[in-house]
Structure formats: structure tokens, C-alpha cells
């Protein structure tokens, strides 16, 4: 670990300055554009993050992009100065969670999980917030648009990657990210079930 006040070499200082100055999180590639070719940039970032770990400002990586932000335990001091971001409705929250945990998903798939139609405004709000984006179309009849999360989503929610989504491993292990049909198949195989499972029409 380096001593900030004495030993920071110029490359570390340059990384620090660039990340402090940038209005946006920077990827390693973007940093290289600014700094030129720095050997071991990733390692230096890791070390810088470690150096700042105990400070009031931390260096964090979110989806491959690095930025400085205030330490989470300072929230109570700083929050009052800042306006809280607009509160998401429950529908928005659930929809965002479904997209994040299942991505990419179509609107129909979101609706299948929530049991209600997705109001038009819900996806708009999430896109406006910059958290989701259309991510192509599903190659099935009707070619529905599918949605995925953005790097800004990871940045906003403090996730290094989607693997950091709270509880995602448990949910996956419990099969809760699988569609109901798939889960039923799994269960029926286990049970040696006698009956086929086409019963969607009644399910609505």
C-alpha cells in the first residue's frame, strides 16, 4: 500500500487526476486514451482503489468503468444537500428487477412474471433514467423487442457487474429465474409426472 502523501508516482497521480476530472466513469480503454499507454493500468487502478478504501472518497469499478464517489457511510451527511432521485413506483422497481435479473427480456416475459400488463410509461421511465435500453429483438414470431440494463444501471446501483445483483446466485440456484414452464418440466421429470403440461390458456 502506498502512502498517499509521499509516494504517489506520476502515473498514479495521472490516473487519479483523470478520474477526478472526468464527468463520467472511465473504462480502462478510455483511461488509456487520456494517459497514453500505461503498463499495468488495471493493477494500478486496483491499488489506487485499495489506497482510497478507507477514505471519505472511494475509487470503485462498475461494469468495467471506474469512478470516484463518496464513501457510503457518509450518506447521512451528504444526503440532505442533494435532492433524492425521483422515487420509482413499485411497478417500475419490479420491472427493473425483472429486466436486471433476467436480461434480456421482452415485455411479454415481464408481463408473464408480474401477472399484469406493463404500462407504457414504466419502460419509458426506466429508459429515461438511463437504466435500461432496447437490446435487439428476440428471434421468435413477432420479433419482440428485448430489454437489458445499461452500464449506468450498474453505476447507479453500485454493482461491479450483474453478478453482484443481490441474491442472484441463490435465485438462480432455486430455479426462480427460470420460466414457470421450464420449472414445471424439471419438476415433472423428477416426479415422473404422467401428464403433459400444456395449460397456458387457463393460467391467465
Amino acid at each position: 500500500m502506498s502512502r498517499f502523501d509521499e509516494e504517489a508516482d506520476d502515473v498514479v497521480r495521472a490516473i487519479e487526476a483523470a478520474l477526478f476530472a472526468s464527468e463520467e466513469p472511465l473504462s480502462v480503454a478510455q483511461l488509456r486514451q487520456t494517459l497514453g499507454d500505461v503498463p499495468d493500468l488495471a493493477a494500478m487502478l486496483g491499488q489506487l482503489a485499495e489506497d482510497y478504501a478507507g477514505r471519505g472518497v472511494n475509487l470503485v469499478e462498475r461494469g468495467g468503468r471506474w469512478h470516484f464517489q463518496t464513501a457510503p457511510d457518509m450518506a447521512h451527511l451528504l444526503r440532505r444537500e442533494k435532492d433524492e432521485p425521483r422515487k420509482l413506483s413499485r411497478a417500475g422497481m419490479e420491472t427493473l428487477a425483472i429486466i436486471a435479473y433476467h436480461e434480456p427480456v421482452s415485455r411479454a416475459e415481464i408481463e408473464a412474471i408480474r401477472g399484469v400488463q406493463v404500462a407504457k410509461g414504466t419502460l419509458d421511465v426506466l429508459m429515461e433514467a438511463g437504466w435500461i435500453r432496447p437490446a435487439g429483438r428476440r428471434e421468435v414470431p413477432g420479433r419482440p423487442l428485448i430489454y437489458a440494463t445499461t452500464p449506468e444501471f450498474l453505476t447507479h446501483f453500485g454493482l461491479s457487474s450483474r453478478k453482484d445483483l443481490p441474491g442472484i446466485d441463490d435465485l438462480r440456484a432455486a430455479g426462480l429465474l427460470d420460466p414457470v414452464d421450464l420449472a414445471m418440466e424439471g419438476l415433472s421429470e423428477q416426479d415422473d409426472a404422467e401428464s403433459p403440461l400444456e395449460m397456458d390458456e387457463e393460467e391467465a
Binding site: 432521485p85 422497481m93 419490479e94 419438476l187
Partner: protein, 269 residues
């Protein structure tokens, strides 16, 4: 979650039989949401939940809502009908059951509730994270990384020359020269035919008076001019012209002496 607690309160109140009550179905996002709320009120793991009990709660709730003459959205009623069917099927002896079995239908319902519940919890956990701009903050006044684009203008000497050539070509007044077409003028023909006809004594074809070796446009021009020339010479009384029939060769000779004229005049008279 506050909304969930509210929902349970709303639900439990009519069961308690209080008469003045406002039940708003806006509290739930559809029947599945209501079912999940009811399921959670069983306070057991969703995997352990009794679907039969859940169905009964739902039907009871809908019944009490209808008793209070609440407007119920169609999808709540559809769900109620389906659950009533499921309930009866679950209560029937197994032997009489059709496909799909009510156990499967119940299981599917349970799985759906688990999935919705999982996503609801996940959403809540996501929202509770240290969020940028709410709990943690980016630098308030970043200097910004500015990329200044420096234009490197490119042009070659060839471009330069071409451009100048184009300017010159475009701006110089163009001079149009109409090329002269090869013709024999009437004057030339008059002079030529007039000079040559005196040398002939007998009828001679018109073509014999044309310059040798003419062809094409010039040849046709010479023929036409010479023809007009002999008409002029005839008018002046210097040649005689004869043609046997239409398109037959034209002959001419120097004009005969006066007497012929007189003869003609006499004949006319």
C-alpha cells in the same frame, strides 16, 4: 414495505366485519399481486403455502368486496372463477380428474407467486443499495476531460491544380465557332455554269457543269446551286433548258438566236 402492509390491513378489515370501509383495488396490481399479498399473510415460505387455503382466502375476499358492492375489475373476477374451478378440482376425488391435474395447476400458481415474490424482493433490495446520487455522490464539480479536435487539413498539389483549372474553366467566356459547312454558293455556280455553257454547242447534261470529284454534301450543294444558276441564266435568256419528263436528266445549251424567241412570241399570239 408500506404498501404491502396497507394491503394486508385492507384485506383483514373486511374479514373483521367492520361495516364502514374503503377497499381500493388500486392497492394491488392485478389478481396475482393480491394473491401474493394473501399468500404472504400466511406467513410461511411460499414453497410451503397451502394453495387451497389461498384460494379460499381470495374467493372470500372477492365475495366480501362484492357484498360491499365494490366495482371489481374483470380480471379479478376471471381469477376468482378460475380459482373456484381449481378449488373444486382439488376437492374432487383424484380418479375423476382430467388433464391437467389440479395439483399441477396449483403448482404452477405457486411457482408464479414465488417468481413474482422473488422479483419483488430483488427490486426492494436493489433500491436499498447505496445509490449514486442518493447515498454516494460523484464529484460535484468535475473539471471534465476535454478532447479538443485539431483539424489536420488535407489537400494535395493535384487538388490545388485541379481546383484552379476548374475555376478557370468555369469562369472563362466560352467562344463558340460554327464550323463552315462545305457549300457551292449560287454566285459560284452562276459564274461556273455561265462560263462553261458558252463552250458547248449542243444539249449537255447539267451534271457535266459541276466540278469534278464532288460528292456528299458538297456535291449536293453544287448540284442545287447549279440548278438554280441555270434557271437564272435561262431567265436572262442565255441558256435553253429541256427535260423529257419528271426526274429525267436536265439538259441545257447556249440560247438559240433571236428568231426562236420571235417564233415563240408568234406562237403565243
Amino acid at each position: 414495505m408500506a404498501t404491502m402492509d396497507d394491503a394486508i390491513d385492507l384485506f383483514e378489515a373486511p374479514r373483521a366485519g367492520e361495516d364502514v370501509l374503503t377497499v381500493s383495488f388500486d392497492s394491488w396490481e392485478g389478481p396475482l399481486d393480491l394473491l401474493l399479498t394473501l399468500a404472504r399473510s400466511q406467513k410461511v415460505d411460499l414453497r410451503e403455502i397451502s394453495i387451497l387455503a389461498l384460494v379460499e382466502q381470495y374467493l372470500e375476499f372477492i365475495a366480501s368486496a362484492r357484498a360491499m358492492k365494490l366495482e371489481l375489475a374483470a380480471d379479478y373476477l376471471v381469477m376468482a372463477a378460475w380459482l373456484a374451478y381449481l378449488k373444486s378440482a382439488l376437492l374432487l376425488p383424484k380418479a375423476q380428474q382430467e388433464d391437467p391435474s389440479p395439483e399441477e395447476l396449483a403448482l404452477r400458481l405457486q411457482l408464479r407467486l414465488q417468481r413474482l415474490s422473488a422479483m419483488r424482493d430483488a427490486g426492494a433490495r436493489l433500491m436499498a443499495r447505496d445509490r449514486l446520487g442518493r447515498d454516494v455522490f460523484a464529484r460535484g464539480a468535475p473539471e471534465g476531460l476535454k478532447v479538443e479536435k485539431v483539424a489536420i487539413w488535407q489537400a494535395s498539389l493535384y487538388d490545388l491544380m485541379t481546383a484552379y483549372g476548374q475555376v478557370k474553366a468555369r469562369t472563362q467566356p466560352a467562344m463558340h465557332i460554327v464550323s463552315r459547312r462545305p457549300v457551292m454558293t449560287l454566285d459560284e455556280a452562276l459564274e461556273r455554269v455561265g462560263a462553261l455553257v458558252g463552250a458547248r454547242l449542243d444539249w449537255t447534261r447539267l451534271e457535266a457543269f459541276l466540278p469534278d470529284g464532288l460528292s456528299g454534301a458538297l456535291g449536293r450543294s453544287a448540284l442545287a446551286s447549279s440548278f438554280v444558276a441555270i434557271l437564272e441564266l435561262a431567265r436572262q435568256g442565255r441558256v435553253d433548258i429541256k427535260q423529257e419528263e419528271i426526274f429525267a436528266p436536265i439538259f441545257l445549251r447556249p440560247a438559240a438566236a433571236e428568231p426562236e424567241m420571235e417564233q415563240r412570241e408568234e406562237a403565243d399570239a
